[in-house]
Symmetry: C2
Subunit: 437 residues, 2 copies
């Protein structure tokens, strides 16, 4: 009814990918946004942050498109990956295209680069101020008050806000403050597997040392290695395995023997000396899944991105889901005329169940990547999927495609898969695959 | 090999039931124990604390026996409840005996009284000091350092310890510190139901107003009321219902109309005026379930009781499970010669899975209490159970009995029930009951 929209004073906690993105969206809506990041400005001082390359897909792309960054990210800095390249133990390769019908790709993107352009995009809005080196000490979710300490000067600052957006990652302090509130549900689960990063060097003549248009996977049952192409012609690889397995690789000899057995082609490409150097640089890292409900408290606090739904990386949906949070928030601000008393509960109502679903899917996809891609049942199911999608392009969209190449609600992707499983079971009489959602 | 046991300097955080009990056990082993409680001494200044009466059963009794308090608690202050008394809507009653074969009872015990005698028992050990009004502000789980504030003087005290025992309840700060550590799994879940306490007056001639040897239940499908006898001839009742239902009871008229419909006999016994007064004294309280793993961090910190496994109250195992934690800790201290590097991981290894199980069982028992006790299938299954237990007293122990009247590991109680269900399905061809574990 044309009611005047109040300009909100928003405090975004966390200047990672999702924090920088939500800052852009809220600034674009005309709100006053202060973004607080505990690290220095990564555009000036690039400290090595979180690893595992990003794979940008439909949900993330749509968010970037809304602030006119999609073309820059995809076409100038993204590496298109059209499918999985499976490396078997005997050195043979098998290609599994992600979307042979519509030719959709996922894009390998450098996390630091993407974070830098999002910060710069945010800073272009005159109603945005970014405070680096500001670590959150405490927040009052009832009043919107926040207390920060400057990491270099130890100066304390107290600020007020109409809305706190906790985009402060998997270990979110805003979430930990919500956990103390009644009727806040939260499940924090570490898997028994960890990971170590290794890096593949540039090939001859400044070319990729293996195909630059694939996500490479070495599935080995209980563990696996993956590698994603970077735009400097290197690959970033990650070995995922049970902590027990990783802890047994405690000497260069054990490590090399393990690679000779399991990843002979990987070892040849990386080189023994480099592998040992990379591998022992850090300890194995943990993998965490966070499911919680609701995402808001009262009308002054909301968590988004990893703060709300950190997930294991095996569906490559962590960033994409976080970016989709921002699209949803923007849409609800539009619908409810920026009235937070309506926007925040509506956000939780819609989003929590979807993110429970994608966290579960990410966990299950680890099994698929490690194991099923080498099994005949899986390959055959992919084939059936492709044929049916080709025959019924509107009505038969495989689970991977609905998650990765559509904006179908994550919850619906699962129920969609459930009826497909029923149909293809009747078609093929395969039962083992039913286990896999 | 007769190696000298080191005297440990233990800090127990929380002087509730489990904190006071573990203090006794550790003091008995010869350790130096400081117990910190944020409230004043309840033996002097009794502030109304947590409600819901306690129902003491085998696990709790065994722990009290070990410090010579069982007889005092059970025979002098416990009210034996031999079964459930079901109140149907038409006012008719149905008795369901807990253990008609071995005649075991559960005992209604006053929480404050039990807490008082445990504190006094702890204080009798000269190697114990109790610090009341000491609220924990922070702890270093690596070093065992703790920081307290005195609730009346605001004085800060820093103390050192060899072992921190977090017995600080469902909202445990020690647990919240553990949550920040890698590989700590925790699931915090509120149910959509809350509860309100009401109280039944003393009957004529200082007698109970209804049977004093039963746990009274008014099962009504989606909600229920229960009442436990107190030793002053009153009953403490609790109405458990979805928050939506409770919130609709927002005027005396709505409340009385609801009771007239659903609990006409309860209303007559309590009286309209008293019911209205009790009901509107406080807001409905929440019900929380906590499952986490592990229970220890390093060799200096352990959580027990509600801090480790708060559960909904429907199996009456919260205190009993907490007391059994103390029995297990004591046993492992014995086995490992008080070597914490062995005791603490072993405690987590054994105990976490069992407490996941009892938390789940407590959740399922809510359905049983609300619903199944009125269904023919349930009554019939109880009958079959009784006959089979009478025929095979060593081999056929119903689930309720293994949980309540034995020290069988909670996890094994569930698997034990699973095979019984299979057998009795074959005997009776009932299928609905299989849902209920």
């Amino acid at each position: 009814m044309g009611s005047e929209v109040r300009t909100l004073n928003v405090a975004v906690v966390g200047g990672g990918l999702v924090g920088a993105l939500v800052t852009c969206f809220l600034a674009k809506r005309g709100h006053r946004v202060n973004l607080y990041e505990y690290r220095p400005d990564i555009r000036v001082e690039n400290s090595r942050g979180v690893s595992i390359d990003l794979a940008l897909s439909a949900r993330g792309r749509e968010a970037l498109r809304a602030i006119d960054l999609e073309d820059l990210v995809i076409n100038h800095h993204g590496i298109a990956m059209k499918g999985r390249m499976i490396h078997l133990k005997d050195g043979s390769l098998k290609e599994i295209i992600y979307d042979s019908v519509n030719k959709n790709c996922i894009y390998s993107v450098n996390r630091t680069y993407l974070n830098q352009i999002l910060l710069s995009a945010a800073e272009k809005y005159e109603n945005v101020t970014i405070f680096f080196n500001h670590k959150l000490l405490d927040a009052d979710l009832d009043t919107g008050a926040l207390k920060f300490i400057h990491m270099q000067t130890d100066e304390i600052s107290n600020v007020e806000s109409d809305l706190i957006i906790g985009a402060d990652g998997a270990y979110s302090l805003i979430r930990r403050l919500m956990i103390k509130k009644p009727r806040f549900n939260c499940n924090q689960a570490y898997i028994d597997h960890g990971y170590v990063e290794v890096s593949y060097p540039i090939g001859k003549d400044n070319k990729y040392i293996m195909s630059g248009n694939h996500l490479h996977i070495w599935p080995r049952g209980n563990f696996m290695m993956i590698a994603l192409p970077n735009d400097d012609y290197t690959f970033t690889g990650n070995l995922f395995a049970p902590f027990k397995t990783l802890e047994a690789l405690n000497t260069p000899e054990n490590l090399l023997e393990f690679f000779r057995q399991e990843f002979p082609d990987g070892l040849r490409l990386i080189g023994e000396e480099k592998l040992v150097k990379d591998f022992f640089q850090t300890s194995p890292k943990t993998l965490l899944s966070i499911q919680c409900k609701p995402y808001h408290f009262g009308s002054k606090a909301l968590i988004i991105g990893d703060a709300a739904h950190a997930m294991v990386p095996f569906y490559a949906q962590g960033m994409n889901a976080g970016f989709e949070d921002v699209l949803l928030l923007d849409k609800l601000m539009e619908i409810h005329n920026d009235n937070l008393e309506k926007v925040l509960p509506h956000f939780s109502e819609i989003r929590c169940d979807d993110c429970y679903a994608i966290c579960d899917l990410a966990m299950y996809n680890y099994v698929e990547m490690r194991e099923l891609v080498t099994k005949k049942a899986f390959i055959f199911r992919k084939y059936i999927d492709t044929v049916l999608q080709w025959l019924f392009p509107k009505n038969w969209i495989p689970l991977y495609s609905t998650v990765t190449f559509s904006r179908m609600r994550y919850r619906d992707c699962i129920s969609n898969k459930a009826w497909q499983d029923k149909v293809s079971l009747n078609l093929t009489n395969f039962d083992s695959i039913a286990l896999q959602y």
